[in-house]
């Protein structure tokens, strides 16, 4: 094994005022970069927390909607035999047709009705529009309970 002698290190030139200013500028620059990094980190953290909060809120709403759907009352067997609801938007002009196919009654407080009302409210439908759909689709005479629960009591 052989070992070579390393060349001598170049010697640092003598310091001067210009060098000191340069070093100071470097230090200030590094400090500014570090500060900017801290600010960016803080902003990113705040953004993450905001998104997590939004996500949590969305999940709560989604879970609630799902729960409402899960609570659906099974239609009784008599309903299956006697027919079912017509398409609610089908505006038949012949009253005799309507008599031939009576609407099947449904429970006034079913989860389906509440989900319908919730979804319509979220999508911007008015109280009157929701009320009309609840009456025509679910044959609920007194819609105030559902509407008040979702939209708040009418002023």
């Amino acid at each position: 094994m052989s070992a070579e002698k390393l060349p001598p290190r170049p010697q640092r030139p003598p310091s001067s005022a210009a060098d000191a200013a340069s070093r100071l500028a470097t230090i200030v620059d590094a400090a500014e970069r570090a500060a900017a990094g801290v600010i960016d980190d803080a902003e990113a953290q705040a953004q993450r927390q905001l998104e997590e909060a939004r996500g949590r809120a969305d999940r709560i709403v989604a879970e609630r909607l799902r729960e409402l759907a899960d609570e659906l009352d099974p239609p009784d067997s008599e309903e299956r035999v006697t027919g079912h609801l017509k398409p609610v938007e089908s505006v038949e002009r012949d009253a005799e047709d309507e008599d031939d196919e009576p609407l099947a009654p449904r429970g006034g407080g079913s989860a389906g009705a509440r989900l319908l009302a919730t979804q319509m409210a979220v999508s911007g439908a008015s109280r009157e529009e929701i009320e009309e759909r609840l009456r025509s689709g679910f044959e609920i005479d007194d819609t105030s309970e559902i509407l008040d629960a979702i939209l708040g009591p009418q002023a």
Partner: protein, 396 residues
């Protein structure tokens, strides 16, 4: 090129899969179209529910121009911001889960079918089935076609894919009986569009939801025609008592450019993995920018309220006409049932002559799908033209 020359060359060079009306359109603005001879038409079909924000909507045109001048396509091997922003917006405005962007409605449904089958296999189902309604229309690629009973009967195109069955339309009992442990999904339209605008009853939708919940099947709502504000809410399901597991969208989403989207509920998580599905063009920067502009315009309570109000006004005015038997649908997605003895096809052709574009999806029905931005005077004009045409066709 004259119309006659155009027709001759179209016949020579294009596969003859369409019967086109003898008109060449060269310009569009809002609810109006102009033909090659400069004649103006009122468009109450909107490219089959595609141009819902009107022809050449300035906001959509600006978004397309800006994006096309910057970046058009990079493929799905790389990131692009418009695609990601669109997926985020679509999901946060609907089911909250993952999104697959496609190029058309039928492709969106292909994705939904894959998701349903894979989800079923995960729970041990060997031969997953998809249940649809008779007269449903889900598309023309083989998966979607197999879920479209009427078109799937075309033996010349057979065999269809296995694992699809259909039940009578809007029959909750038949639907409940058809859904069992091997069912991967119930794939249905909340309002049937192509068959003539037939809304599903709340009871049937509830039965579908319940049957899916009991068996582990997915409820897939095809809102390709009914979605994006057409019914007066951003999604048609928002006016029903159910929430789907999977939602498919297309048509109006691109504002005139081809696009499709399959949106999952958050609970489904990641069903498809790398290699399960893909597309070269899907989620392209230009079409994604256009779709973001469309959603910005349509996801607006004032616009959606206007759709409901104008839809109700149009429905009411049509019901005043003697030759109208019924009006079906919601918002500005309407099927006008004519009294017996009136040839709807003749009325459609006559209306085109008079300068109103409508569609005849079945004998006895006119389908109206005007732009959501149509104004009350245009609605009055359309009703007036329909009235004149019905009177003329009845007398003729």
């Amino acid at each position: 090129m004259t119309l006659a020359e155009l027709q001759e060359r179209e016949q020579r060079w294009l596969m003859q899969t369409y019967r086109r009306a003898p008109v060449e359109f060269v310009r569009g603005e809002g609810a109006s179209l102009w033909d090659s001879e400069g004649r103006e038409y009122l468009d109450f079909l909107a490219g089959i529910s595609v141009c819902s924000v009107g022809h050449c909507n300035p906001a959509v045109v600006a978004a397309v121009r800006e994006q096309a001048g910057r970046l058009m396509h990079v493929s799905n091997l790389f990131y692009s911001e418009p695609m990601v922003r669109l997926a985020e917006r679509l999901s946060s405005a609907s089911l909250g889960g993952k999104v697959f962007l496609a190029n058309s409605g039928t492709e969106a449904n292909e994705c939904a079918i894959k998701v349903a089958r894979k989800n079923a296999h995960r729970r041990g189902v060997e031969n997953p089935e998809i249940v649809s309604f008779e007269r449903d229309f889900h598309g023309r690629t083989y998966g979607a076609l197999s879920a479209t009973p009427k078109l799937a009967e075309n033996r010349a195109l057979g065999p269809m894919l296995p694992g699809f069955r259909s039940v009578p339309f809007d029959d909750p009992g038949a639907l409940r009986d058809a859904v069992y442990e091997e069912t991967a999904a119930v794939l249905i339209e909340p309002i049937q569009g192509e068959s003539g605008v037939y809304p599903l009853s709340d009871e049937t939708l509830l039965a579908a939801r319940q049957a899916c919940d009991e068996t582990g099947a997915l409820l897939i709502l095809d809102e390709i025609q009914a979605g994006i504000g057409r019914t007066g809410s951003l999604w048609a399901y928002e006016q029903t008592p159910v929430r789907p597991d999977v939602l498919t969208s297309a048509k109006a989403l691109g504002g005139g450019l081809p696009i499709g989207a399959c949106v999952l509920s958050e609970a489904l998580g990641d069903v498809l993995e790398p290699g399960d599905h893909g597309s070269t063009f899907a989620g392209g920067a230009v079409v994604s920018a256009a779709a973001l502009a469309v959603l910005e315009l349509v996801d607006d309570p004032a616009l959606l309220r206007g759709v409901r109000e104008r839809g109700a006004a149009l429905c009411e005015a049509l019901l005043e006409l003697d030759a109208v038997r019924e009006v079906r649908g919601r918002g500005l997605m309407l099927g006008v049932g004519l009294v017996e003895g009136i040839d709807a096809a003749a009325v459609g052709a006559d209306l085109l002559e008079r300068g109103l574009i409508v569609n005849v999806p079945e004998p006895g029905t006119l389908r109206l799908l005007p732009p959501l931005t149509v104004d009350p005077t245009q609605i009055d004009r359309a009703v007036d033209l329909i009235s004149q045409s019905l009177l003329s066709c009845r007398q003729g």
